[in-house]
């Protein structure tokens, strides 16, 4: 998949992953990797940026397997930001699909399931 496309949606995927439950870094990387193939190194800078912008809160929790792990928790601002990203993504997806459908002049089968 194109790296720029992945970069665009990576934020939304991360926010959605943490919205369900608090996660630590490695766990979050594995969760995101289920959706898109992403460089592991890029997740941590993204987490750091979202934390600096107060969309995430972090706390340490003891682990039986090693040192304490830093967990990420989605804040209220993060939830709002995630919702706005989802709306933008849905709108963008709809517009792109519509555009592709018009250009191709084809049917739904040609443009895929997006409509």
């Amino acid at each position: 998949m194109n790296a720029q496309l992945k970069k665009g949606v990576l934020e939304l995927i991360v926010l959605e992953s943490v919205r369900k439950r608090d996660m630590y870094g490695y766990e979050l990387v594995e969760e995101v990797s289920k959706v898109i193939d992403v460089n592991e190194g890029t997740i941590y800078p993204l987490l750091k940026r979202l934390t600096n912008e107060h969309y995430f809160e972090t706390y340490l929790r003891e682990s039986k397997e090693g040192p304490p792990r830093k967990y990420y928790h989605l804040t209220a601002a993060g939830v709002l930001y995630r919702d706005s990203l989802e709306e933008e993504w849905m709108e963008l997806q709809a517009r792109v699909c519509r555009f592709l459908a018009e250009k191709n002049g084809g049917s739904d089968e040609e443009t895929g399931v997006f409509r």
Partner: protein, 326 residues
């Protein structure tokens, strides 16, 4: 590449960030590598998944709103190497920081010394005048005593007082008169006559007195005058001693108070200089991006506070009141 090498190189790229942030990031990557190793990967494989360290560091710096290209752009033509060249600069950042701090410190010290020098001279003058007060007082009393002695010598070693106006010359005349009376009485008893050529006055009968009684009365009178003069001198001396004691006590209290004021002002000046130094240092560091705004403001407040105490400490001096004479 081993884990420690990776972390060291990454830290080298992130040196523009605060130390705590660097440690936080490196801990997270270290933990991630350890988990991957625990899942069966080797160190090299775990690190390889991160990709290029330069690109990774660039993304991390972007997360902190730091332009990763800034260092590279501003280092063109300079002797030191860029941040992403992966090496140490020829002129370390810390050395430039220390140089700037020292330069600012020396400048601040020079300005403070120039301003404080005049104030120190003024204080020294006050202190010397204060310490010289008892010597001036002693000299004045000594001169007054010498003048008094000269006056006594001019008056023939006798001080006229209100209670006793009789001087030694008058007493001598009385003694001489008494002697003449004795001689006259002796002459009358022996039948001799006196005349005016002998230099002795002729005393008529109504002025005749018994010589023993007159001499005793004169001595008693002289003794009484002497006692009166002695007691008056004692009272005057005791009064003078008490006055000196009161003045000495007053002077000691004033000296103690003024010493306290001087010490407090000196301490305030010293504290002001220390906070001025801190203010300069923190201001430089603040200008370089460290979050020291609060410390800088606090230091500024302390400098103003202690500086005011040091400068206006002189107003608390206890000065001697000079009585105005018409």
């Amino acid at each position: 590449m081993k884990k420690q090498e990776f972390l060291d190189e990454l830290k080298c790229h992130l040196k523009v960030l605060q130390e705590e942030e660097q440690e936080d990031i490196l801990d997270e990557y270290s933990q991630h590598i350890e988990m991957k190793i625990a899942n069966g990967l080797s160190e090299e494989e775990a690190i390889k998944d991160f990709g290029s360290i330069h690109a990774l560091a660039g993304e991390i710096l972007e997360a902190y709103h730091v332009n990763p290209e800034y260092e590279q752009e501003h280092s063109k033509g300079a002797s030191r190497r860029s941040l992403f060249a992966g090496g140490q600069t020829e002129e370390p950042e810390s050395r430039r920081h220390v140089g700037a701090v020292l330069k600012e410190t020396v400048a601040c010290a020079g300005r403070a010394g120039k301003k404080g020098g005049h104030q120190i001279l003024v204080w020294t003058g006050w202190l010397l005048r204060l310490l010289g007060t008892p010597f001036r007082k002693g000299k004045m009393l000594w001169c007054r005593w010498l003048e008094r002695r000269k006056e006594i010598d001019r008056e023939g070693g006798w001080i006229e007082t209100e209670d006793c106006a009789e001087g030694p010359a008058e007493l001598e005349r009385k003694d001489e008169a008494l002697g003449n009376l004795i001689l006259l009485e002796d002459g009358l008893k022996t039948g001799e006559k006196t005349d005016g050529t002998s230099g002795r006055s002729v005393i008529t009968g109504k002025h005749q007195r018994k010589p023993e009684r007159s001499r005793a009365a004169g001595w008693l009178q002289a003794l009484g005058g002497t006692c009166r003069r002695g007691s008056l001198a004692c009272v005057r001396g005791i009064r003078q001693v008490l006055r000196w004691a009161a003045e000495a006590g007053f002077w000691c209290c004033r000296l103690a108070w003024n010493c306290c004021v001087v010490l407090a002002s000196a301490f305030s000046a010293f504290a002001g200089l220390v906070f001025l130094f801190l203010f300069g240092t923190m201001a430089v560091l603040w200008g370089q991006g460290f979050p020291f705004a609060g410390i800088v403001l606090g230091c500024l407040g302390a400098v103003l506070c202690f500086g005011s105490l040091a400068v206006f400490g002189g107003t608390f001096f206890w000065r001697k009141r000079h009585e105005q004479t018409d």
